[in-house]
Symmetry: C2
Subunit: 239 residues, 2 copies
């Protein structure tokens, strides 16, 4: 294997950290030669694929540009699908789901961050699999035939799903360790000084106050209903 | 105060997570009304400012678009300057340094992630201040008149500098707590499920192997020399 293609799917309304977190880690596999760490890993190349070459505006207003269209994107060794409220439209988009289905069928690694899991779900990828997603939406996983496993990163065969947003960074290190070994993962961790020290310990419902959880469930209600409806429509059209 | 302007500086060769990490956190201050957490914080608005409206390619190939030029950017309440090897060219760019100097002079909060600190340094912002930067470049802080303090986030008055790359996420939560209170920071932490669980504990030189540190010092040597030279030229032209 001379080149390992790592592809990210991008769409309007993406939660940008779902993509940019793992991108920062995985793109550092692109320079293993200068890394001089013993590694069995070949050259990596990243792709950011979208339906069109137009800028994609994130759900919070950051402007990202794809570097290829779904049509131009080469076969991917690893496909990573991020989330964001934009998945509700993407779930109804035949080309987006078709791209994911096609690439996932041939990729060595099929991965998602946060509610990107439901795009894999719509593509049929998660049927009979253990998986996770953003904590506010884990109850919807059975709608795509998956069983929720409570973990920050869930691996079932070649499928890696991760929890909400920032979990994509931890997932990416797990993938790097799998692909290139722990020493390369540790070198990349040092290069981005990933020694996290959140000023609060409230990043999971088990640790947050009941009020904060209730508030976030309420704030996620529209997205939750939107995903549920979009998956319902898909299921009806499949019958 | 009716609107709080949060501005990020962008340039070619940026390390994108330096920007996208804090952007994901700080941009969530833009919806405090629907957050219904007791907060003294007004509406936030983000700006991504560059010399021109051209896409900026990150040091690892991600394409980001600014949403305003330095000229169009309104006065910022908070300016955040990211790093990346691209700062070497930016250090020599009169318009970039001029923008930072002008905005920093009037902002309530002056902040940087990783080696973005040296752009503030070139703008004269760090003279006589305690500060930090990416671990591989902390020894260069005296060149801009700053004293290195060994911490992930260093606050000196209204200046927040943060350590390498991923430290920008932790910094952003500290800023949110300062601006809007700890309950808002915790709500945002829960919304991005920021409950970090790196598979390895090697994100700081104190924790990494000697071999990994030596390797990363070697890999950073060109950037280190480039920053040193660029700062030397600035110092000469100031004399």
């Amino acid at each position: 294997m001379s080149q390992f293609n790592v592809g990210f799917v991008i769409f309007p309304g993406i939660t940008q950290l779902d993509l940019t977190g793992p991108f920062e880690v995985l793109s550092r596999l692109a320079t293993p030669a200068s890394m001089s760490v013993p590694s069995r890993f070949p050259q990596a190349k990243t792709f950011v694929a979208a339906k069109t070459m137009a800028p994609a505006v994130s759900d919070r207003g950051l402007l990202l540009l794809p570097d290829c269209t779904f049509e131009d994107c080469p076969p991917l060794d690893l496909i990573c699908v991020p989330g964001g409220a934009g998945i509700i439209d993407a779930l109804a988009d035949v080309e987006t789901i078709g791209f994911i289905r096609h690439q996932a069928a041939n990729a060595r690694y099929v991965t998602s961050v946060s509610i990107g899991a439901f795009l894999h779900g719509a593509a049929g990828v998660l049927k009979g699999r253990r998986a996770t997603t953003h904590w506010a939406h884990t109850d919807l996983l059975p709608l795509v035939g998956a069983t929720h496993e409570k973990a920050r990163i869930v691996r079932d065969g070649n499928i890696f799903t991760s929890a909400g947003v920032s979990a994509g960074i931890d997932f990416a290190f797990a993938i790097v360790a799998e692909l290139a070994g722990p020493e390369v993962a540790k070198a990349i961790q040092l290069s981005i000084e990933y020694d996290p020290a959140p000023p609060f310990d409230a990043g999971h419902p088990d640790k947050a106050s009941e009020a904060a959880v209730a508030l976030m469930v309420q704030r996620n209600a529209a997205a939750h209903a939107g995903i549920e409806q979009a998956l319902g429509r898909l299921s009806m059209s499949a019958n």
